[in-house]
């Protein structure tokens, strides 16, 4: 076992869609001494189990399945001979970019990198985080775990299903379980609106006659060995269950699609400061974190709605990491971005270079007839009108270099009506 420290220009942690497109972009920008570390046994990340279509409309102008979309990038990784290690778990990243990892062949090993790109993705919020009362039988899964059992392993986690949460994976699994012969009784959503994409509500619920119960939650879980049923209830404006609306639904499976959490445990070991809203790193327009030489992209930075945007963001991170390694730097600014609460967050949170900067953001509620205003003090830098903005869909605006001129800080505000 070779325990000597290796030197690599760029280490990319995670070989999912973000990691692969960051690697490809860095390679195309001239960084040839790079390495992708992937904990699963194959590149592709969560796309491997997303066998439905709908990926790539923005990026490739066609509808691909998850594995097909991943293959577009994996093919390039192979063509360019970009080195990668699978079944390799990163255990630690130090602030000075020493990466410690482990696998079966090399044991525990370390790599010193000039730059690191964080592309670890996200995980699903579990039942425990919700503190739903009741028993603890088998039959309760996060939607993604069920997706893995069905799509990758070929097993049915259950046949009578209730889904809590209308995140995209939950919606996709409502359709998948139905197609596999299960009966999906209802999708309950705590909020008065869905957290998923409008097209998924149409194609995964409405097309199959699956009821979406907004402002509803699961208040109790029943069954000692295998799940036997759940009690659901409507909630009031303050999201408290209304006792009179309690309703028992017999079922053997409860799938949870109640939020995704960026997996930033490694970022913390590297001392990367996080945004309290996104739970991802604070970054500039290059997706560089506040720790020099460490970049972040994809769902570890903020949860995306479409993989197409993940690829776009990862390319920025890949190119910027290459520029950083090559010692390029542009005219330096320091413009912090802030939000009004209706706009929940922006990525990036800071602009340090004068160039075209696309700012991604999400809103806190469903708003109609909205105007996004980007303000520098009282000066309106940019205005964008839209008939509707919803929390489930990521929004973006592009700022031009001249709009950044002399700005002390940019505030993102939403005007409604």
């Amino acid at each position: 076992m070779d325990t000597m420290m290796k030197n690599v220009d760029l280490v990319i942690v995670g070989g999912g869609p973000a990691g692969m497109s960051a690697a490809v972009a860095a390679y195309e920008s001239g960084v040839k001494n790079l390495l992708i570390l992937e904990r699963d046994s194959h590149l592709g990340g969560i796309l491997q189990q997303c066998i439905h279509n709908g990926f790539g409309l923005h990026r490739f102008g066609e509808e691909l399945t998850g594995p097909e979309y991943a293959w577009r990038y994996e093919k390039l990784v192979h063509e360019y001979n970009i080195p990668y290690l699978t079944d390799t778990m990163v255990l630690d990243i130090s602030p000075d970019r020493v990466v410690t990892a482990t696998n079966s062949e090399r044991g525990v090993f370390t790599i010193a990198a000039k730059a690191v790109i964080l592309a670890m993705g996200c995980r699903e919020r579990s039942r425990g985080a919700l503190n739903i009362a009741g028993s603890r039988p088998a039959g309760i899964y996060s939607a993604g775990t069920a997706q893995k059992y069905v799509n990758l392993k070929g097993y049915m986690p259950g046949r009578n299903v209730v889904i809590l949460g209308s995140g995209d994976i939950g919606l996709i699994m409502a359709r998948r379980m139905t197609l596999e012969g299960a009966k999906v009784h209802a999708v309950c959503e705590l909020m008065p609106y869905s957290g998923g994409l409008a097209r998924n509500i149409e194609q995964c619920l409405h097309d199959f006659g699956i009821p979406l119960k907004l402002s509803h939650t699961v208040v109790e879980i029943h069954g000692r060995e295998r799940l036997e049923g759940v009690t659901i209830a409507k909630v009031d404006e303050r999201r408290r269950p209304i006792a009179e609306t309690r309703e028992y639904i017999p079922c053997d499976t409860l799938l949870l699609s109640v939020g995704l959490i960026p997996e930033n445990e490694l970022s913390k070991t590297a001392g990367v400061p996080l945004d309290r809203v996104t739970n991802g790193a604070l970054v500039d327009q290059d997706r560089q974190t506040e720790v020099e030489g460490i970049f972040a992209c994809g769902n570890v930075l903020h949860v995306h709605d479409l993989v197409d945007f993940v690829s776009e963001e990862a390319e920025i991170a890949g190119k910027s990491a290459a520029a950083y390694i090559q010692g390029q730097s542009a005219e330096a600014l320091d413009i912090p971005l802030s939000v009004d609460g209706r706009v929940r967050y922006t990525v990036p949170q800071r602009i340090t270079q004068k160039k075209d900067v696309t700012v991604f953001f999400r809103v806190a509620d469903v708003y109609r007839d909205v105007t996004l205003k980007v303000l520098d003090g009282d000066r309106v830098v940019l205005r964008k009108k839209k008939p509707k903005m919803a929390p489930g869909e990521m929004e973006s605006v592009t700022l031009k270099p001249e709009q950044l001129d002399g700005a002390a800080g940019l505030r993102f505000e939403l005007e409604v009506g």
Binding site: M89, T102, G107, S126, A129, N131, P137, G144, V219, R226
Partner: protein
């Protein structure tokens, strides 16, 4: 014929079986569950109490103080994590100050060492996040934390390594007095045996299920350590001198990120309603809050309640500031076995039947001393305790790989590459560790069993990523179909069949 049958593989039964396995006795442990440590021993506060709570002169007081003294050594031998973090009983007003003083006096009478009443400044220095309203505290430096199911698994495993037999899925359904001993009838366990047999998982007769309907065994002595069911077992031999009722305790467990919020175990000054909600780090670095205390009828109802969880969270916040309950990773409920006498019920009935019942708090703390005490009762009853020459009190730590140096890890990975493959990312548990656990006494046969032994699935994603892999490892190791793997035996199957079948 067995010399001794221990009924119940909780921490008490496990520690007793381990103590017995040091002698030339044929010992079996009968457990109705699909695994060991599935009753109160897998859901309690995980505290080694110092011993100031129980009344002077009670068995609880005596065995708690003795157990607390023995615990560190027992854990060292069994390779179980133990941390002497000390405990604090915090008081909020003048009335509490008196209670704190009386606890100190009682503790000293019980023989607890090092007790000290401290003022607000010192309390704040020891625990900066303590409530601002806490004005004084009893500091018990001998208080400690331990993982109760890890201790139980290790004790049973060590007993088995020394020759004791474990019969899972063996629910004692009747006991008959025969000359020189007892005949014990077993029925299927908690619904677990049926599924197990159908799955054909009876891979290892000594470990795996063997209690078909009508299983019978004979034994000279019986030790009744059946937890909440101990009164039912006692009645089978005609002892109706006590009853047991379950008392529900609900807990909320938080992410390891929060484990450093307090370093001591923080109790509220006890009231008539009990010891209140505690806040404590666990030996594995999480933060644990609970329990509630509600008397129940149903001995199997381990459901949590919305009111209970809400109470845990609000009362814990009164004791310690800034507990981030948004970082909860799970909530659970345990049932304490509350005896009708108010004290532990440890006695002999008839010639050879011993009750070890009503072992509520401080049962975990007392367990090593209970085992010692039971040995003395056996001796009094004329049981010949001849030491075994080859008795080995030690068991390799289940967490050895996790704590090894990088050089040591690399040596292990070179010998067995499975130790380089991380299966559970949240807790960094490797395939090697999971396989070793599946192959070590007492062998787990379900997802929860693997979880309790390795911590895989116990982290912040609660098995979301790794459980499909662990199901695969269990299926391979147990030679059962993938869809026959359960969460905890019986009907708790993880998958109900293959796709494309409906």
């Amino acid at each position: 014929m067995y010399d001794i049958a221990v009924i119940g593989a909780g921490v008490v039964g496990g520690m007793i079986a381990r103590a017995l396995s040091a002698y030339r006795l044929r010992v079996c442990i009968l457990e109705k569950g699909h695994d060991v440590a599935v009753g109160a021993s897998c859901a309690n506060s995980a505290i080694v109490h110092a011993g100031f709570d129980a009344h002077e002169g009670s068995l609880k007081a005596k065995l708690n103080v003795r157990g607390s003294e023995l615990m560190a050594g027992v854990c060292e031998e069994l390779g179980v994590k133990y941390k002497n973090n000390g405990s604090l009983v915090i008081g909020f007003g003048e009335e509490d100050r008196e209670t704190v003083e009386s606890l100190r006096r009682r503790g000293e009478a019980n023989g607890v060492k090092g007790l000290k009443v401290i003022d607000q400044a010192e309390l704040r220095r020891l625990e900066p996040n303590i409530s601002e309203n806490a004005v004084c505290a009893l500091w018990a430096p001998t208080g400690a934390i331990v993982c109760p199911y890890e201790l139980t698994i290790a004790a049973v495993g060590n007993a088995m390594d020394n020759g004791a037999e474990l019969k899972l899925d063996f629910r004692v359904s009747g006991i008959e007095k025969i000359p020189g001993g007892y005949r014990v009838y077993g029925a299927e366990g908690t619904g677990a045996a049926a599924g197990q047999n159908a799955a054909g998982a009876d891979a290892d007769g000594t470990v795996a299920a063997c209690a078909e309907n009508g299983a019978v065994l004979e034994t000279r002595y019986i030790i009744n350590a059946a937890g909440v069911h101990a009164d039912e077992i006692a009645r089978m031999v005609g002892d109706d001198s006590f009853s047991i009722h379950p008392r529900r305790g609900e807990y909320v467990l938080l992410d390891k990120e929060c484990g450093g919020l307090v370093s001591h175990t923080i109790f509220r000054t006890p009231t008539k309603m009990g010891k209140g909600i505690l806040v404590t780090p666990t030996v594995d670095g999480n933060l644990l809050t609970g329990p509630t205390s509600v008397d129940m009828q149903d001995k199997e109802d381990k459901a949590t309640t919305a009111e209970g969880l809400a109470r845990v969270m609000s009362e814990a916040q009164e004791n310690v500031r800034g507990i981030p309950f948004g970082k909860s990773i799970t909530s659970f409920c345990g049932l304490r076995a509350v005896g009708s006498t108010g004290d532990f019920i440890i006695n002999r009935f008839g010639e050879g039947f011993f009750n070890v019942a009503g072992i509520e708090s401080p049962g975990l703390s007392s367990a090593p001393a209970i085992a010692e005490y039971v040995l003395s009762l056996l001796r009094e009853a004329g049981v010949a305790l001849e030491p075994k020459a080859d008795y080995n009190p030690r068991r390799p730590a289940m967490h050895a790989f996790r704590e090894a140096t990088i050089e040591e890890k690399n040596r292990i990975i070179r010998e067995n590459p499975a130790y380089g493959r991380v299966i559970c990312r949240c807790e960094t548990v490797t395939e090697g560790e999971i396989l070793a656990a599946i192959r070590t006494n007492p062998r787990p046969r379900d997802l929860d069993g693997v979880k309790r032994r390795t911590r895989a699935q116990m982290g912040r994603c609660q098995g979301g990523f790794c459980s499909p892999y662990i199901v695969e490892l269990l299926a391979e190791e147990l030679h059962i179909p993938y869809e026959a793997v359960t969460k905890f035996g019986g009907g708790s199957v993880v998958n109900v069949g293959r796709t494309k079948e409906a």
